[in-house]
Structure formats: structure tokens, C-alpha cells
Symmetry: D2
Subunit: 335 residues, 4 copies
Amino acid sequence: MQIGMMGLGRMGANMVRRLMRGGHECVVYDINPASVADLVKDGAVGAAALEEFIGKLARPRTVWLMLPAAITNRVVEQVAALLEPGDIIVDGGNSHYHDAVDQAVRLQARGLSFVDVGTSGGVWGLERGYCLMIGGPDAAVKHLEPIFATLAPGAGAGSAEGGDLGTAPLGYLHCGPSGAGHFVKMVHNGIEYGVMAAYAEGMNILKQANAGSEHRDADAETSPLAQPQYYRFDIDLPAVAEVWRHGSVIGSWLLDLTAGALKADPALAQFGGRVSDSGEGRWTLKAAIDTGVPAPVLSSALFSRLTSQGESEFADKLLSAMRYAFGGHVEKPKA
Amino acid sequence: MQIGMMGLGRMGANMVRRLMRGGHECVVYDINPASVADLVKDGAVGAAALEEFIGKLARPRTVWLMLPAAITNRVVEQVAALLEPGDIIVDGGNSHYHDAVDQAVRLQARGLSFVDVGTSGGVWGLERGYCLMIGGPDAAVKHLEPIFATLAPGAGAGSAEGGDLGTAPLGYLHCGPSGAGHFVKMVHNGIEYGVMAAYAEGMNILKQANAGSEHRDADAETSPLAQPQYYRFDIDLPAVAEVWRHGSVIGSWLLDLTAGALKADPALAQFGGRVSDSGEGRWTLKAAIDTGVPAPVLSSALFSRLTSQGESEFADKLLSAMRYAFGGHVEKPKA
Amino acid sequence: MQIGMMGLGRMGANMVRRLMRGGHECVVYDINPASVADLVKDGAVGAAALEEFIGKLARPRTVWLMLPAAITNRVVEQVAALLEPGDIIVDGGNSHYHDAVDQAVRLQARGLSFVDVGTSGGVWGLERGYCLMIGGPDAAVKHLEPIFATLAPGAGAGSAEGGDLGTAPLGYLHCGPSGAGHFVKMVHNGIEYGVMAAYAEGMNILKQANAGSEHRDADAETSPLAQPQYYRFDIDLPAVAEVWRHGSVIGSWLLDLTAGALKADPALAQFGGRVSDSGEGRWTLKAAIDTGVPAPVLSSALFSRLTSQGESEFADKLLSAMRYAFGGHVEKPKA
Amino acid sequence: MQIGMMGLGRMGANMVRRLMRGGHECVVYDINPASVADLVKDGAVGAAALEEFIGKLARPRTVWLMLPAAITNRVVEQVAALLEPGDIIVDGGNSHYHDAVDQAVRLQARGLSFVDVGTSGGVWGLERGYCLMIGGPDAAVKHLEPIFATLAPGAGAGSAEGGDLGTAPLGYLHCGPSGAGHFVKMVHNGIEYGVMAAYAEGMNILKQANAGSEHRDADAETSPLAQPQYYRFDIDLPAVAEVWRHGSVIGSWLLDLTAGALKADPALAQFGGRVSDSGEGRWTLKAAIDTGVPAPVLSSALFSRLTSQGESEFADKLLSAMRYAFGGHVEKPKA
């Protein structure tokens, strides 16, 4: 079937390619003409402006947006102004599910359907297929099923089981009304933060397993290492990550990627350690707080990222100021 | 080759079976005669007492222990007293790696080798193979390689890659001197706690996604839910766990098990929520603390387990006592 | 000066008493007539209905609300409908500062001023005075200064210092525009959660300092205590809390209360350990998340409370389900 | 009475001065002769070498050590070699209580008493008095009571209450056998970390309360601020810290110091934000883990310090590596 895709970054462009491989017709648009041209070369129908993009779509139109969360709301309004009753807007980006809940109400009043599709799979989705978490009205979701089936991994991938879980074993799931897709994807990303941090912390402990062989200051500002004989292991991190992939309890796709990254460069020298967050982890935590769910692991993972962004600096200065005030402790310089 | 296995619980018995399938000769012993008898039926050589067990082993003997951490040290001493120079003791249990470091020194003085083998795979290891993290002297580890190769998943399982990571792609790895195997397994389990908690917290958030449809008290002791319209999702947890297995970033073996458990019983009614810990998570955290490694996610996961065991009760009572003291807040009864 | 107080619970009633002691005229109203009668006995002017209450106030009227957060917004609307331009509504409750920001905009359009006053001091405020964190337009705040000065501890209490901090040494502070008062009070309470939890966790550790003298199971589901000789202290908790009040770094008013509570009953037997939260801790954390501030301590304190309310049950069941799935671990029953 | 003090740093020197003011005779020694000379000027008896120091003490001798934890054990051995049965060694430093437990056993065999005295009060102790947490045999503790009574704040300070708490209201407490003093002091410092972090996190939130007025990138690597209208407060941090000192629930000595530091320099420009830890927080956490006590707040506070020391760098790099691997996310440079 035909679909219009707007926002041709890493995710959007690859999704178009996967859809075209699956026999779908893709009309594409991006503010960057080069991104459009690339996909036209691969067989997509390109558009140079929003109006042209909408004009090339047959009714009922489906416009799928893959945009940064910060601008999605605005673009939804622009697109909606050009659509007609019966048309569908799909938001496949990392938008806040609140927006989906609110947009659906506004668009429904104008006869438009809003479908939010949490899309996981990253740059590997083109080959692996994307995991799709879908929210929206039944009719619109049903209408788009051929698209979802193509984007998702499908029956061939992984150990799909049972039929009573509906389409879940195929890699896509209608999770509920508008907002439910982004909500489930949001929690997916919250979990992702926690899982990633668990590996990162563990690997960091392994990296320090040789601390007993290293020099250590002996002053009142440095905590002593009481039993250095227990910290004399020179662990091969890439090999450990690899061995854990084979038969251990913690095998996972993220571990596969971790092993690959460590094998490529055990020192991870190309990275500085500033870990971004795109909002999903924050929203997950806010949902946990609103509904009273303890989420100490997910919050710890988020806060570690924020700290890596430099956001604890003032708090840290204040701690040093207190230590100076009560104990005369003079701060050591940063390494 | 021949190996003696002592401790025939869930782990030990299955390892014997896998070894016998691989053509090895297994002499087995357990304080529970029925456990011995079961394996004798399957082809193992049984022993009714420790001395008989040792006596049935050809030199150089290998005694592999699969025992609870709390008694391993004592049994190592008993076994060592019956062995001779050149013999090998393997500890495959969840022992503290400190003990391995210390045991190795003591046993080496008596001409014995101590090999610690962190063993992951659980009840699935019989079929999947076990992931083995090995510490000990080179000669002893080399001698045991046929055993390790049989216990581990081997080349057929998973996407093994590269040869420069040694045996890691086969599922076993010599991680360093005595203690290194348990150390790496310890951190593996620490990570496991974190990964498990990430899924559990996320699923708990999904479960509460319908809070806006439920009644809520309006008193000064109950935090209000400001925007109930954003919490009206009735999420199908088994289906979500299943869909995440197909193409998402958080696919993992633990997620596979989670999906299975939720499919079998979405309410998890057979469980009460008291989560045990067997020590590895605690030791991981102590190693992190000793070496100065921040581990907020791993510690949060551990503390959640301890709290589930009732260990925060006094702290909680004290918080209620403070609230009563400054604000006259009368405690609500536990649900 | 004259003030109308609505909401005569623990906080509201005592504030009226302190104001009357300071020579102010208080008109009071509550849906519970007994609460009104009590204060009338003490000299307040009582009202039996909202209209009567408003009617007894001279213009420009000041209506100070001390209500649960869950109903404050609604009552503000009801009161505003009876007021006239130039009148002032004060919200002294634990309301979300978002509401104050929004209410101020709405009320300003009707010529009314909205002043939010975060009020700390609990049941002790009558004697100690209340710490007031104030947000709102300059004119209204200035108009109410005699009220603030009476409610606050004033110069006599504590070691007030400097004049360049304005009225802060007197115990009240105009923190900024509408919402700023509740915002600062919200963060105050967030800190309060953290400080309380720090004492509670520490006291819990002291309580377990004798663990090495107690029996401990030796099974695979119980983490062993490796060095019992280091945990044979029978600590007198009330005495420790008391000694810390005298010269230690952690002396505080909350410690004073803790010492009092432990002295009254070292076992805290009247408490069950369900710790309520009234919303402020949650909002603090949401503000931290919105603005990207790491708050691991404040969030840990909040999550411990939520867990004490039973909110981690499903997550805990899922952890047990996973342990059973991979390791065959059978859950121990809850104590 | 006479006492020998060895280790004349910030703490030791001031304790000598307070003891001399109280009429006690102090023999003093330090490897830094200038430190000795300073106190001789103030009336102390100085010694230029360890043997001379011991030689100047009348029997039964009391040698009080105020040394960095990393060297205390070694010095205890050196001192013990010069003492005779009936003599007392006091360790008033921030030593690990394990050492006190072990030292007491070793020294008792030689007829010496070991008393561990956790000493809180910092640079203010000279004037305020020190809070003393004491472990050791009854006789030795009794013998030293005049010293403790002088060092502690005494009855005049604070709101001492009740007699049934023994000497606790005077600011010193015999907490139990050897090790109990350091154990209680260790937990005191663990709590201190938590309390300090609570204030620091809260102040950091207040500092960011104006985030809605600031520019923010709108890209996929930056979490959007959805409701900037709620973050337009320009909070005066020194004034807020000051007002909280007067009647609020979170009044404390650490808040007094915080207010002082912020008043002196609201930007805390002299500090870089590297927060040291001297070991006590780590040991508290290890004790919590050993005894199964959940300590999420205390651990979060510790880990924030470790992170400020740069110890999460490798973990952070690994997180960025994973994000690059699954999503092609290119790391933003550190600010």
C-alpha cells in the first residue's frame, strides 16, 4: 500500500527502505533535499515541499512522521491543516505520550485519526525489522496492518510462540488507544536505560579489578584499600563480554553490541563519556512517580546520564563547601 | 576424561548429565543418597561416602564441588585432606572469590591446584550449555579444558565470532589466577540483578498505567494524581513482553523468561514477592565500594531485594515516627 | 490586621492561635463546625458557611486556605467567585506549585491576587513559629507582611545573622512570583525526605549490628555472613540518637525528634512501617527530572516510601518468577 | 589527668587545646616538629620522637592517636611495642572498626587496653566540644571519663534531657566493646553523607528553577523542556538556606554551614566539585550489605561522591558506545 514518510533521518530513511523492499509505495519528504534525493534513487516518490508531499498521497492518506520530539507537535498541526477527514497521521518518533493523548482528541474532532507507534530497533531495524508498539483507534490501526507487518521482524525472526498473544510474536502490537504505543515504548526505553547501566557498571567494576596492583595515596582525603590482595585481576573485558553471550543468564542484544564495541576498541577511546538522554527515560520516571511505582533502578540509570552531562556540578561544589566548613577539608583538584 | 562431582543439586546433577553425554566418566557423591542413585541410573559411578568417592578417582584426581557457598570452605578442607599433590579441586558454586584467592594459597602449599569456575546457565544449562568463567593456575585449567568444552555451549550455539577472543566464543574463558573466575561470575550476577530489576520496574509501571481509571483517596496522607487522563491504559503485559522479544533494543534471555512467566500467569499469583539473594550481588557491591566504582543501579537492585525480605521495617517505622513527631501524621495501616 | 482562615486542621488551627496571640483578628471557617467552635472559644470570629465567612471580612479581604492539596484548586474557585478586585487569596497548603502558577494567571484577570505560602513547622509551629516561603505579586506580599512576621519565628529564635538576606533571618522570605513559594517549600520537603531517610537507614544499620550473634540459615537462598565477629554490638539506639545531638556533625531538629521518639519507645511498636507521602517529594523529583538535575538521594527516599506502601509488590513477584524460571529457585515465604 | 596525644593535625591539635583548657596535662608528638612546637607554646609537653613521647607519660599511660586511617594500624603496633601492661591506647581517628575489633584482641593478650573513640565535631570542636562515640573495656573507658567529659560539649550545650540515657546528653557515650565506638561513628558519617547530599541535591534543583527562561537545543540528543512556564524562578539560594534555618523541619547544623557557605559566595566559585570520601561512608555501606540492611540513600550519596571523583568515566563511555552501536547516536562533547 501507499504511505507518506516525513523525516528521513537514520530511522525514517531505513524504514522507507524496508517498506519499499516489502512492496509498499513510499512518498517521502524532509527539509533536507539530499535526504529526499537519496531515497528517490532507491525508488521512493520524492516531494520538495510539504504541500507537494501531501498532494502526492492518495486518499485516505497516511502521513508517518519520524521527527525529533521537540518539533513533532508543531509539524502535526501543519500536516493536519492539509489533510481531510478519514486521513491518518502516524507519529513514530520518541514523542511524549501525553502529546499523543492530546493530539488524538484534537484530531478526532477534525475527522482525522492519530496513531502513535513506538519504534524500536535503531540502525539495525532495516535488516532485523522494527519492534512496533502501537496506540490508536482500531480502524486506523487495522488499516495500517500491512505496513506494520512489513516493518516488524515477522514470524521468521526469533522464537515466536503461541497465537494467543495476537501479533506480538510477529513484532508488532496494538497496545491500546492513542498514547498507548508511545507509553509502552517510553517504558521500553526506561528499561533500556536500566539494562545498559547494569552492564556499564559491571564492566566498570571488572576494569577496576586490578586496583590492588596500583599506587594509592595515603592521606585523609583518600579512602584506603584495605585488602589489595583481592584486587589483582587483569580482566580481558572484550573476552568477558563475549563469553557472557554464550549460555549465561545475562545474554542479550545489548550485550552483543557491548561485546562488539569492546572488541573494536577495549579502551573505548573514541568516547568521552557524556551520555545523552532523549527524554523517554525522564518521562518513564515521571509516569512512575505519578502512579506511585518505585523505580530506583530506572531512576539511578537516568541520573547517571544527567551527571555525565555535568548537571551535578553545583551539588558537588556544595558538598565540598560543607566539608570545608565543618572539617577544613581542602578539595583535591579534579583529575 | 574422568571427573568427580560432589554436590548433586539442581546444578551439579545436570552438569554430570551433560558431561556424561559428552563422553566423560563421572564419579558422583552427595550427602543425599537418592541424588547419587539418580545419577547412577543414568550411568554415573556412585559413592556413599567422601572417602569412597575420592578412592574411586584416578590420579591426578579432579574433584568438582557444586555446594552452597556457606559450606564450601569447610568441604574444601575435608576433600583436600584426602588428596595428594597434583590433584585438583574445582569450586563451581557461588562462593565468594575471596575464599578462592585464600584457598589457592593454602592448597598450593600442599601441592594441590584450586580452580574456581563461575557457572551460569541455571536449570537450562543441561540443554543450552553453561557459561564458564574460570580462575586458576594455567596447567590445571589446561588439563580441564575437555571438561569445560563439554559443559559450555560450544561453537554451535549463538553467533560466535572471531578467534582472537580465545575460547570466549565457545562459552568458557580462563579469566585469570585463582579467584578471577568467581570474581567475573560475581559481577555477572551483580549485572543480572540490575537487568532483572530494570524489567521488573518497567513492568510494574505498565501495570499501573490504568491508575487514572481507579478510585483514589483525597486526604493529606495520599498524594493526588493530577492528570488522570494520562493513565487510562489497560496494558496486556504478556503481549508486551512478547513483542519486545522481536526486534526491540531490550531483547534478552531474561526477557524471554519474563515473557514465558507472564504468559503462564499474568498475575504471577504463585509468587508472594519475597526475593532472595544468594550473596553474589552483595559481594559485587562490596567490590565496587572497595575499588571506588559507582554502582547505583546494581545497589538499587540489591536493596530492593533486601527490602522485599522485610529488612527495611525498622527504618520505615522510624520514618513514620518522625512524621508523627513533627506533623502529627497518623500512620495509615498496611494494605 | 484582619485575616480569614479556611481549613482548621492541625496546621490551620494552630496558625490562627499564633496570629491571635500576635494581636491579629481571625475570621475562621471549616466544613467541620467543631473546629470552628474550638477557635471561637479562643477568640476567633467564626462562620458557619463560606458566604458568611467571606461576608465577615473587611475589604481588601485576605482568605488564607490550609487545605489538602487534592481539594485546594476547587475551593480556590469557590472562594474567588465570592471575592472582589483587590482581594487576596493565600494558599498555605502543600499544593503543587503548578497550580499556583496557573491560579495566579486566572485570578489576576479578575483583579485578585494569589499568594502561595509554603509553610513548614508542623505541630510545633504554634510555639516555634513557622518557616514561610512566599510567592506572589509584590504588593500583596507587602500587604501581608504583618501576618508573615507574626507566624514566623522572628528575630528572637535561633542565630539570625546579617541584614543583607532581607527577612530570611526572621523566618519568612518572598521567594519570587506566584508559585515560587510552593516551589521552594516543595524542594524543602524533598530534602526533608532525604534527611529523614538518611537517619532511618543509619539507625537500621545500628539495629542490625548484632547480626553476628544471631542464627542464620545456611542454604542457597540465604546470603551467608562471612565475618560474624564484626557484628556483635548491642547498640542502645536511644542513647546514640541522644549523643549525636551534642556536638556531632549531624545534629538537627529531625534528630531531636528522632531521639525523642526512640526514647519514648525504642522498638517503635506503635508504628507498622507504612510511610505516607503527600505529594511534595514526588513533585520535587519531577521538577528535578524536567530540569535535568540528578537527585539520586531524594528519589531513593521517595521510592523507599512508595515501597513501604506496597507498591513494589508486582515487581518483586516478577523477580521471583524470573529466578524460578532460570534457576528453579523456589521463593521463601514472607516473614 | 595526663594524656599523650599523637597526631597533631586539625583534629588532634584542637583536642589538645580543649583538654588543656579543661586542666588536663597533655604530652604531644607528631612527625612534624612544627605541630609539636605550636602546642608547646600553648602549654603542652612536647616530644621529638616516639620513645621520648612514651617516656614522658606516667603509668598507666594513655596514648591517644589522631592519625589518617591508612597508617593507624602500623602506628598502633609501634606504640604498643613501647607500652606495658595496664597502659591504654586510644584511637580517635576515622579508622575502620574492624581494625579496632582485631587490635583489641591482639593488645589484650599483651595486657594493654584498646579504646576506640569516634570523634565528631570537625574544626568547630574546640569551641563546641566533640561528640564522642566510645568502644572498649569498661575499666579503661571509666578511667578515661574525665578526658571524655572535657572533650565533649557537656551539660551546658544544647537541650540535654533525661538521665536515663547515661552520659549521652553530655555528648559522650560508651557504646559497647572495642569497635563499637568506631562502628557508631562510621554510621554517623554514613548518615552525614546522606544528609549532605539531600541538601546539595535540593539546592541544585532550586538553582535550575529558571531553566524555562534559558535557551535549549532542539535535537534528538537533547530532552525537551515541555512546560517552560513552570521553570521561571530566579531563586536567591543564600536567602533560602537562611530562611530554612528558622522554624523549618530541615533545620540542622549542616544547614547552618550551608547557609554560611552560600552567603560567603553564592556561586561557590572556589570549589571545583571533586568530593572526597575518607572511607567511613564506604564502610557503612559494607556493613549494611553484610547485615542485609537496605541503604539506598546512603549508597546514592556515596556513589555521587565517587562519580565526582571521575570513577564513572569508563561506564559512561560504554553507555555512549552502546548508544552509538544501536542507534548511531554520536556523542555530544562534554561541556
